[in-house]
Amino acid sequence: MILSRLKTKVHSLFRPVPTWLRTDAKADLSAALTVAILGIPQAMAFAAIAGLPPVTGLYTSIVSAIVAALLGSSRHLITGPSNVTCMMIFSITAQLAKRYGISPLEIALLISLLSGFMQALMGLLRLGSIVKYISNSVIMGFTTGAGILIALNQLDAFLGLPASKSDSSHVLQEFWQNLRSLGSINPAGLAIAAFCMVLVITIKKLKPRLPGALIALSMASLVVLLLGLNNEAAGWLRIPVIGERSHIAGSLALWHFPQLLLQPDWLLYRDVGFSAFSVAVIGLIQSASIAKSLAGQSGQRLDFNREFVGQGVANMVGAFFQCFPAAGSFNRSAVCMQSGAKTRMAAILAAVFTALFLLWLGPLTNYIPEPAFAGLLMATAFFMIDRGRFMKMWRTSPHSRVVLAGTLAATLLLSMENAVFLGVLLSVLALLKVTGKPYLTQLIQRYDGSFEEIPFGHAADDRIVLVNLEGYFYFASVDDLDYELMQCITEETKILILRMKRLRAFGSSAMLMLEHFHDLLLKKNIRLMVCGIENDLRRTMTVSGLRQKLGEENIFYADNRLFQSTELALLRARKLLDNEKLGDHKPTLLEKIKGSIGNIGKAKNVPALNAGRLMSKRFLRFGQEHQIREVLWLLGEWVQSGKAGIRPVIYLQDTNGCMAGMVSLWEIIKDLGAHPDFLEAKTADARMMAEWFRYNQDKSIMRLVEYEAHCVSPESGLPEQLAALARNKGRSVPVLDKNRRMRGTVEAKVLLAELLRQLPDKENSE
């Protein structure tokens, strides 16, 4: 069983060898060779950034790359030494090695083991989404800072100055010392370094597919060897080579058990633990963002949790093979994909090529001049500091500037491992500041029914004030909001409507604020109405008791039709004000009805027969989420407007705008009298009836919906319309388009007139 599952898993990861040989091997081999040629000098250079022997960079390019490719999710991600993690490793090991008197490599191996364990754990705990909480501004600030640090760190080697690293603990202090030692510049070293830097930058810009680093290092090595600048005879122009500091043998003696596991130092473990977490997080962010970027081009669907596990296990395994913490490399991964790699075998083969290089040509790397390496790293720093993107982010917003500058400053001045967390903290603070206040505007309804949005407090005095609240509505954002809202109140104000459609993250503080605001308004004899209430907010209002306090008649629920509930709230507000204004001189219902019925127009003969021509577009549409009470309001206003016809029907639509049934006036009347006592009551005063009628009115409108309406398409002819009319028992026939959206209704009377027009006269028929 387990073997079978394992086999299935392996099959899902790799294609069968014969298939791979036939279809993908050529492309993968070609891409792997390109990646190896590009990666070998990079690996050694990055090891130099980390302050570790260059050969460890090659080891990391071999072991970590293979393990990550085997277990990860991406087909194109190349794992190995990376500039940012290497800079972090240097930042950590430089201090701890001096403090504890332990080799930096041993500390790097311990970091690799711990950070790998944390990464794998995060993957197993399915925390793949954690990367999204680190903003682009943080990454940009951090990467820029790391680039500057790399440049400062390599300045002495670039200028051919005597090493100053042992004399100070911070790179900025080293920079200061380098400035004071400018008199000791080695012009030959500077020339070699500058030549390499310029060559790498030029090749990258003009011919990005060429292995610029390899070309530059080879040429520099050749020049130094030919001119004998590596010999003592060169005197003050002498240039040191890699082999003098750390000899690279042509062997693969990789296995090395981390000494700190044999002789644990708990104090060191404690100091390394937090740093390892930083390395783990940064490594994952880097790998995940690169893999995501590549997947966007290749169309591959990624499993970030699996990628986390892959990266973690690669680092854990690497710790036993002299590998420092690895992460995804954008340069090599992008080249891998652009070179046509089809499968993850390309990454594995690139590691194999690197191993073969180490075995056969490794000793040659001993002749690489150190300033050439410094030039290569200066070019790396040059590309890390992306001035265009940096300035773009800088201009985006003040909050981006704070996060960007804060993270950059922390990277340069504090330890790198803390810089990311400080950046995240700044991002959170910026987010809290942005969301700490809801966006307030005022709405005014135009004559055509549409709404105009104007700045808060700038609306003309009116009896009805409509305020639009948007954004977050949690404890911080509602502080003093009630008093701020009061600013839009004038002596004329009688009703204030809060539109709360786009509010998020509301809680008990928000409910308390609204309650207090309601009390403040009551003292001024102003009624508070709320509209655009969505389901979540409705629940919170119910639980907090606010719904009861405001009164159901003052709450209007959101609909899929924009501004539906706002229109209802405005109707209600105007109605209340009209009643107050009219006082005892209200028109009788009879007057209202007679007036409304008098407006109904005479049916006209329509020459065309199809439903699209016969239909009336004067009908009422409503969402499904409303209460009966809201439909009562709408239907009442519709009837009184005189546009509703004799038997008004409200058609309901679902969230896609499709017809979802209808509510007829009859159903409403029936429901109003649905109280158990109603039908049996001999007498009923207004108060009793009101209570009965309110019995069901806060229930969903869906309970009254009739679904059996027969509909026609706009192309339907007269017979089809008549048939639908008869099936609907004479009620109007909805006209739906092919998407089941309502276009109009065919009324019985119009159809009758058309029918009589079509039929011959009595005399003719006889």
């Binding site: 009164g551 008649e553 209200k586 009788t588 219902l589 009879l590 009805i593 409304s596 019925i597 109904i600 127009g601 005479k602 009470r629 009562l632 239907l635 009442g636 009184q640 509703a644 004799i646 038997r647 006036l665 009859w666 409403i668 009347i669 029936k670 109003l672 009298g673 109603f678 039908l679 007498t683 009923a684 005063d685 207004a686 108060r687 009836m689 009101a690 209570e691 009628f693 309110r694 009115q697 002819g717 017979p719 089809e720 008549l722 048939a723 009319l725 008869a726 099936r727 028992k729 004479g730 009620r731 019985a748 009377k749 009758l752 007139a753 029918l755 009589l756 079509q758 039929l759 009595k762």
Partner: protein, 160 residues
């Protein structure tokens, strides 16, 4: 808030009925009834009388439903059958009419609503208590507005 006296308490059939309805004799044909309907403005029903007795109510909807009854498949096929012509000449006394639910002018809103609740799809016809002659009709729109107004009237509930 001051609670005003509710107007609904005083609502009766005589105050909310309308007197605009058309009376046709039972000897009239369906064609005549339909022609009458197409020119009527303010009501969609016809009152059918026979010897000063109310025979029933014919609505546009009911008329069309009757006209098309049993012919739906033919109508679907796009044919206006000749049988329709025959039906148009039928006398109103021979075709099914809706029941006219009669109420007196003094009938209160609650009772009217109860009647409407029991009598699905019929009009409430207001008749003179003595002569039993029609004097008006109460539309469901009217009842609805009264009831809806009452249901939504804050002052009718227990508000301070």
């Amino acid at each position: 808030m001051k609670k005003p006296e509710s107007h609904v308490d005083h609502l009766s059939a005589s105050t909310i009925c309308i007197d605009r309805f058309t009376i046709l004799q039972a000897t009239s044909t369906l064609r005549e009834a339909l022609a009458e309907m197409t020119v009527l403005e303010n009501t969609a029903s016809l009152l059918v009388m026979q010897d000063r007795e109310i025979l029933g109510v014919l609505s546009v909807e009911a008329a069309i439903a009757y006209l098309c009854a049993g012919r739906l498949s033919e109508l679907d096929a796009g044919i206006l059958p000749a049988a329709l012509h025959q039906r148009l000449e039928e006398r109103l006394s021979d075709i099914p009419l809706g029941k006219a639910v009669c109420i007196e002018p003094a009938t209160g809103l609650a009772e009217m609503l109860q009647l409407a609740h029991k009598q699905v799809g019929e009009w409430l016809l207001v008749v003179d208590p003595q002569s039993r002659q029609p004097i008006g009709q109460v539309l469901y729109n009217t009842l609805f507005l009264s009831a809806a107004g009452l249901a939504l009237d804050d002052n009718a509930l227990i508000h301070p």
